[in-house]
Amino acid sequence: MDNSIKMRSVDLEVFYQDFQALHGINLEVKENHVTALIGPSGCGKSTYLRTLNRLNELIEGTSIKGQVYLDDISIYEKDVDVVGLRKRVGMVFQKPSVFPMSIYENVAYGPRIHGIKKKNQLDEIVEKSLRAANLWNEMGNRLNSPAARMSGGQQQRLVIARVLAVDPEVILMDEPASALDPISTSKLEELIGELKKNYTIVIVTHNMQQAARVSDFTGFFLNGYLIEFNRTSELFVNPANKKTEDYITGRFG
């Protein structure tokens, strides 16, 4: 597996009005690997995740210093097309939020807005995406039923299928399992393991066991600083920083 860098941030700082949420973050996300971001609530890990597809811009009064690169493109340059960026960097949120449409229409939503109109082409994308999200066997014969009727775990996998349908390169996940039961969570983790063959994944999680199970690299955030970043196997067994050790051994957070 190649070890090239898919995304990286250089001296990244984020401000909400006067409040500085992130301080000089330098982080590299390796292609076809899972990178986990951990830390207590309010540490800046979700804020960081949202800088990677410029979704933080939706909040009024946000400003940014430093750079974020996707391959060689600096994504905060003026001439960067946000739509194109978000097509390449997809995102899965904390609460599975399916649109009030059928299962089929949910998955076809992305391809449709990006201009794919042919029915057979859409059919193909929908099937491929649902298969990749391990949902085809359960839902393949119920494509026209409302997505809202599925269970929470199925909805979250549908959201992932919807993201896969626009054919992204990177998938950001913001605590994707926090609203799921243990069985759905283990299915989701299994899926993440399969997805990294074809995609680069950055996952924010509250759950340290989850980070340890699914990720190859882990970054520990605290109060807006990236305290430590290392191979997951290294960071959890042999943390270099005292604060990291305190956090992963459960002394605070």
């Binding site: 597809n53 979704l55 939706l58 009024e60 739509v83 194109g84 960026l85 978000r86 097509k87 997809g90 995102m91 949120f93 609460k95 939020s97 649109f99 009030p100 449409m101 059928s102 229409e105 939503y109 992305g110 807005i113 990006h114 959201v159 919807r162 993201v163 626009v166």
Partner: protein, 278 residues
């Protein structure tokens, strides 16, 4: 324990009674109107134009005028109202002075009595712009009157659409407008239609403002420049000038039926629209 239970039962009974009062009032009014009005209802009453100032004939021209004027008012008010609500909720910054001014204006407009809209419509559309008493003057006046209702209800409806829909849609690379058109508006549609139904009720029921702007001609309106008499205006004149109480009740009965039909059609088209937009 026994005491608390009694109190609870008493309060429950009180709420139940107030519910009963509402049902009784509604049933009473509709029942009374039906009993008094049903005797003058016939196919001729619906299909024939009035003659002898409403003493004889039917009320067909007033039914057409009512539908004509209501439809025109909606055609003017709905695009502006829904458009401004989209602007206020989706595009305007929460600190924008212009947005606050638009909000304040629509709140104030909502509280103004209809006769004042009528007076304004009379002076501005009928006289100053020379439109005369006409469907057009009446519709423009009614459009101004229902605009705040449509804007406010559409705003509320858009506001209640989950913020997560927006984030998810934008994160898939949708533009703001695509997100609004494909996710937000379909979800907000039931609320928007509620505002439209309320507005229809207000337009169909309005008298003062319409007499001042559309007049009270009994002729059949063809062009928007023609004057017209809506059913409520007809009812008012029949009763007020002592022309025929019986026919006034007949008209009242048909107004109630018309409103029920319109509400039914609005709900039906809502279902179809929601399916089509998805």
């Amino acid at each position: 324990m026994g005491k608390i239970n009694w109190k609870d039962k008493l309060i429950t009974a009180g709420f139940w009674l107030s519910g009963l009062v509402i049902i009784a009032i509604l049933a009473g009014i509709i029942g009374y109107v039906m009993i008094k009005g049903i005797s003058s209802i016939s196919l001729d009453f619906i299909l024939q134009p009035p003659s002898k100032a409403g003493r004889a004939g039917g009320i067909s021209t007033t039914i057409v005028s009512t539908l004509y004027l209501t439809l025109m008012s909606l055609l003017i008010a709905v695009p502006i109202g829904v458009g401004s609500s989209i602007y206020l909720e989706e595009y305007a910054s929460s600190r924008s002075k212009f947005a606050r001014l638009v909000n304040l204006t629509s709140e104030t407009l909502a509280g103004i009595p209809s006769i004042i809209f009528g007076l304004f419509g009379f002076v501005f559309f009928v006289i100053f712009l020379g439109m005369g008493w006409s469907i057009l003057s009446g519709s423009l006046t009614m459009a101004i009157m229902i605009l705040p209702t449509i804007t406010r209800t559409a705003q509320e409806a858009i506001l209640t659409v989950s913020h997560e829909y927006r984030e998810n849609s934008l994160a898939l690379g949708a533009s703001k407008w695509q997100t609004i058109r494909k996710v937000i508006l379909p979800s907000a549609l039931p609320g928007i239609v509620t505002g439209i139904i309320l507005s229809i009720g207000r337009t169909v029921g309005e008298t003062a403002a319409i007499i001042l702007t559309a007049g009270s001609s009994l002729g059949m309106p063809i062009s928007p420049a023609d004057p017209a008499r809506t059913m409520s205006v007809h009812l008012y004149i029949l009763a007020m000038e002592g022309i025929s109480t019986e026919r006034a009740f007949g008209t009242a009965f048909l107004i109630v039926v018309l409103i029920i039909i319109i509400n039914y059609l609005a709900n039906l088209s809502l279902q179809k629209l929601t399916q089509a937009m998805r």
